[in-house]
């Protein structure tokens, strides 16, 4: 038994900032101080505050150390673990108050969060099945198999109001009921872990931090619909998640929580992994199933829906990772508990990946109906550098933007659709006054053009034509007729594409035109980029009155485009200038500006 647990984050964020090395050093240092039998080092999943990684939490006193370096380890061990003296300089600043150290749960970042899907992330060691069981794991599966009928399970999920967290928001219980209603000798439960939206990483975090929750939920789903085989389709770009899933499946099989006659009942269920090669379209349900079958991952028209004819032509369900992570908790705590959170039509919580121009980059889980203002200003800690909020982009390449006028909108599925965006998988990118909305739309369209599978014409050619028009706009070569054509094309692609990828690809363009038409017009009519992003419409100029002739800019310029002599005002040769902005950053006198 250990008197202290040191939790070190082993999520992708902290791993990339060196947490593995920290863990090794920590273990060696603990050994050196003879504390190996008193202090346990636990590798956990993501805590959410990725911007502060590598993160370390020491229990029982719950001390939160941020941005820990290998050099800090000896001090932490000899001071904190041995003598109980907190290493104040490494504390997360938010927890330090004049009256002492406050609990992590009381910080702005965690205070308004409510963790259900992420409840074990950053708490348990995901590679030890006993730890998951210690927090109530596999109890829901036991309850379902011994006390409930499949119909009761489905009714519970229906009553909870849980909707798919992958983006579309289809009621999960309904999906299960449809699949149960179709008789077949074999059915399949699939888990969509092909998280592809740029900036979204909640599914990865759940898989890395609490893989058994997903396995347990899949077994419950298998019981509910009458399936004995499950597949997790996970992208190969998530090596840590893949590794932890493999370990989890192996442990669950060893404990006979997967396999034949689970809990001594006649229910049998097993799960296998399928690795995706990273095609965005494989996140679409029919393409994903085609890919599991070993064929080229392309979508096919629906109907028939997967609940009728899915994987290998058998009735199948496909649920997203975050959706599944909620299931065991709903079974254990009851549907009323889950339905008591959220808004009328969107129950429970949603995990968002905060990114872009925001202080606390990371993962947050909030009850549905939390306003965008609370998420950005309170939990996210606001926009750095005192810049002005312009918009929040949600739903990645399928979603749209929420402008400042909707800052107080409660976030749920229907509200986001009504203002032209969508929940998507939960990426939330904050944009400030320095971001050009045309450029943002172009960025997402470049992504969909790249990822279009090419099967249907509207998506393959339509998105490319749209991108060409957007490129023309950002270069200042477009006319107002082009803008009209772009809008028309958007509706055409939306209505005629085969699958969700093409049907939603125009959303970023449409929503930026809807809320930021003035920016599009400035590019077209005035040949000006108001945010100063589009390079073709920019020029850098030196203010003659402010320039002291220090020559720093001329020395910095990589293109040799700045001419001038010491103590005389310099000028920029616009023909040579590559608009990198390096001179502006270096100037001490604020003499260089963008025009």
């Amino acid at each position: 038994m250990y008197r202290s647990h040191v939790l070190v984050c082993g999520g992708t964020g902290c791993t990339s900032s060196g947490s593995q090395q920290i863990m090794e050093t920590l273990k060696a240092e603990i050994e050196k101080n003879g504390l190996s039998e008193e202090v346990s080092v636990v590798q956990t999943g993501c805590h959410g505050l990725c911007a502060l990684g590598p993160i370390m939490i020491i229990y029982p006193d719950a001390t939160f150390y941020a941005l820990v370096k290998v050099e800090d380890i000896p001090e932490i061990v000899s001071e904190h673990l041995l003598k109980g003296r907190v290493v104040t300089r490494l504390l997360y600043k938010e927890t330090v108050t004049p009256s002492g150290i406050k609990s992590l749960e009381d910080t702005d970042f965690y205070k308004k969060q409510h963790r259900i899907a992420l409840r074990n992330c950053g708490v348990i060691n995901p590679e030890v099945i006993e730890e998951y069981i210690g927090t109530g794991g596999y109890q829901a599966l036991g309850k379902v198999l011994t006390e409930m009928t499949p119909d009761e399970v489905i009714q519970t999920i229906l009553d909870s109001g849980l909707r798919g967290r992958g983006g579309a928001g289809f009621p999960t219980g309904l999906k299960w009921r449809l699949a149960k209603g179709n008789d077949a000798d074999q059915k399949y439960v699939c888990c969509n872990a092909d998280e592809g939206d740029p900036g979204a990483f909640m599914d990865r975090s759940v898989l890395e931090g609490d893989p058994h929750a997903v396995l347990e939920a899949m077994a419950i789903a298998g019981y509910a619909i009458g399936a004995s085989q499950g597949y997790i389709y996970v992208r190969a770009e998530y090596p840590i998640a893949v590794q932890r899933l493999q370990i989890a499946i192996k442990q669950a099989r060893e404990m006979e929580l997967l396999g034949n006659n689970i809990f001594g009942t006649d229910f049998s269920f097993d799960i296998d992994l399928r690795l995706g090669a990273g095609a965005f379209v494989c996140g679409e349900e029919t393409a994903l199933m085609t890919s599991i079958e070993g064929k080229r991952g392309e979508p096919r028209p629906r109907p028939p829906f997967p609940a009728q004819k899915g994987l290998f032509g058998k009735p199948s369900i496909l649920n997203n990772v975050e959706t599944l992570a909620n299931i065991p908790q709903i079974i254990l705590n009851g549907p009323e508990w889950f339905a008591s959170m959220g808004t009328e039509k969107s129950k429970g919580t949603k995990v968002f990946a905060l990114g872009g121009k925001i202080h606390n980059t990371g993962l947050v889980e909030i009850p549905m109906g939390t306003t965008l203002r609370e998420v950005i200003e309170e939990i996210g800690g606001g926009i750095p550098g005192g810049k002005k909020f312009k918009a929040a982009q949600t739903g990645g390449p399928s979603g749209g933007c929420i402008p400042a006028e909707h800052f107080d909108i409660p976030i749920d599925y229907d509200n986001l659709i009504s203002i032209g965006s969508m929940m998507g998988s939960g990426g939330l990118i904050v944009l400030d006054e320095d971001d050009c909305m045309v450029d943002i739309a172009k960025f997402f369209l470049e992504f969909t053009v790249e990822e279009s599978c090419g099967k249907c014409t509207p998506c393959r050619i339509g998105t490319r034509r749209m991108l060409e028009i957007l490129t023309k706009i950002t270069k200042g070569q477009a006319t107002m007729e082009d803008l009209d054509k772009l809008e028309e094309l958007c509706y055409y692609v939306k209505n005629n594409s085969l699958c969700g990828l093409g049907q939603t690809a125009p959303n970023p363009v449409l929503s930026t035109i809807r809320y930021f038409r003035d920016e599009y017009e400035a590019h077209i009519k005035e040949k000006r980029c108001p945010a100063g992003v589009c390079k073709a419409l920019l020029s850098y100029v030196i203010d003659r009155d402010k320039c002291r002739g220090c020559t720093l800019c001329a020395k910095t310029c990589p293109a040799g485009a700045i001419i001038g002599t010491v103590k005389n005002p310099h000028i920029i040769d616009t023909d040579k200038c590559i608009k990198c902005g390096a001179c502006m950053e270096k100037c001490h006198f604020g003499a260089i500006y963008k025009k």
């Binding site: 038994m1 202290s4 647990h5 229990y59 041995l82 109980g84 609990s103 749960e105 210690g134």
Partner: protein
């Protein structure tokens, strides 16, 4: 896993360990002096005894066992302080693992401080 009892047994075994990772601010705090003076006079076995017993007895949700530095009464080390919300702090002195066991049984579980080991029992000059 052939029965729910099997699962329950694992859960109970693991529960108290995982519960150590919950920070409850209102809980009773048991603090062991672990400065040089404390360590030299044998505070570490006292600390581990307290921590193990609290976990074994399933008290991790209510009681937090941690260390602290020197409180200035070095000749009385190892010192253990018990701080219960809303009650006066009890300071135990010259602790040993055996005395710690008694404190867990009678004070932390039973609710009655073990007067004979406390600072009040000696004549401070």
């Amino acid at each position: 896993m052939k029965s729910l009892e099997e699962l329950k047994a694992i859960r109970e075994r693991m529960q108290n360990q995982v519960n150590l990772r919950e920070s409850s601010q209102s809980a009773t705090r048991v603090v062991v002096g672990m400065a040089t003076c404390g360590i030299a006079s044998g505070a570490r076995p006292v600390l581990t005894t307290l921590s193990n017993l609290v976990q074994e007895k399933g008290l991790t949700g209510k009681i937090t066992v941690t260390q602290t530095g020197c409180i200035g009464l070095c000749q009385y080390e190892p010192i253990v302080e018990v701080m219960e919300p809303g009650k006066e702090k009890i300071t135990y002195i010259k602790m040993t693992p055996e005395k710690a066991e008694e404190v867990v049984e009678r004070h932390l579980i039973g609710g009655h401080p073990v007067e004979k080991y406390t600072l009040n029992a000696v004549d401070l000059k």
